[in-house]
Symmetry: C2
Subunit: 240 residues, 2 copies
Amino acid sequence: MIHQDSYKQHISAQFNAELESVKNHLLEMGGLVEQQIGKAVEALLHRDSGVAEEVVAGDERVNDMEISIDEECFRILARRQPAASDLRLVLAISKVTTDLERIGDEASKIGRQAIKATEEGGSSTSFVEIRHIGAHVSDMLRRALDAFARLDVDMAVEVVIADRSVDSEYATAMRSLVTFMMEDPRTIGPVLGQMWALRSLERVGDHASNIAEHVIYLVRGLDVRHVEPDQLMAQVEESE
Amino acid sequence: MIHQDSYKQHISAQFNAELESVKNHLLEMGGLVEQQIGKAVEALLHRDSGVAEEVVAGDERVNDMEISIDEECFRILARRQPAASDLRLVLAISKVTTDLERIGDEASKIGRQAIKATEEGGSSTSFVEIRHIGAHVSDMLRRALDAFARLDVDMAVEVVIADRSVDSEYATAMRSLVTFMMEDPRTIGPVLGQMWALRSLERVGDHASNIAEHVIYLVRGLDVRHVEPDQLMAQVEESE
């Protein structure tokens, strides 16, 4: 009996180590993707095509990490057949890695816009907006990953709600860029580039919000993916 | 012994029925999403805000289906603890449902552009491009879902390769729209709307391609998510 118990403990310790490991790899991927976004925004603001090239090249590592995390999830499910909350964790990791990979894609798109902007020269009209929305979504991403690491529902709810402000900041920035283009049609080319970059940043906010929703699901078993933010808090509080 | 065998057969038949059921739900969701894209494009081309409103409202059903398919996947994994290829299938379904939900989001965005375009009036400049790229990505989506239903790798490879033509058609269409705007800045507002719609369609092509990549992974165990199309065929042939 003692022998069997210690065997079980051994298996369970190994399993926990595997779960910790895949979780750490996910957070490592999150850190890389955060860096990619930060560098892409800097490259765009400072017209630094060297940094932009680094971002575009760095996307390969993000892609590799997605594949390897998915394989890790597959192996854990195949060998450990986890139940209940561990199973939810593995499934959430497998979904979050997709969101991180897509954030990586957006960073790479912004990097390509930065390269184009550097080649074309000309002035940037939406520095303030890009810097501001870039900082906002980077902060959301960092908090979404922190919330995931600590299974912190309150922080996750904040991220989902913050996405609403990003959407409205984005809409305002786009309107002012349209006005700008209309007033000076020679700016159409570069301003469009800035619009695409803003669009990418807005998508990063969406993905950060998705990650936060997975945290809420993990902790509360509550699927809030399509709940409106104003009802979100009430639903989360009810589920306590 | 006979009793136990028949019990095992019973369990296995039930398990197969559950797998079939979740696969069918996924294909049903795929059919709905295909319809949503088709209707959104028609609404945009014919300035039909009634149909556009239907598309926007219909996104809720798409969202509900995503949640219910994810729950089905969770239940199968928790109760059946499938191994090897069945496990891969369930994981692929859980990833494909995310792609379908995002295609639904793009349909909804196109629907909103259609409503805006109807309100604003004015002429559409990119009928041909929207119709053409819309038909192309709808066809890709249908074939990606067919490939999934039949586990047809050849068809899946075709879809991934087709995405490359969509990307180049999209780039051409965008360039001509930029020229159009520059020549007549009064068209900036409506032309931007058409650009967003084209961007959404291009994203639909990306998601259809993702679905096809999951089929290749399912059948060949080959992760081709980040393989360039020109190397894709060779890798898939090698894996036979």
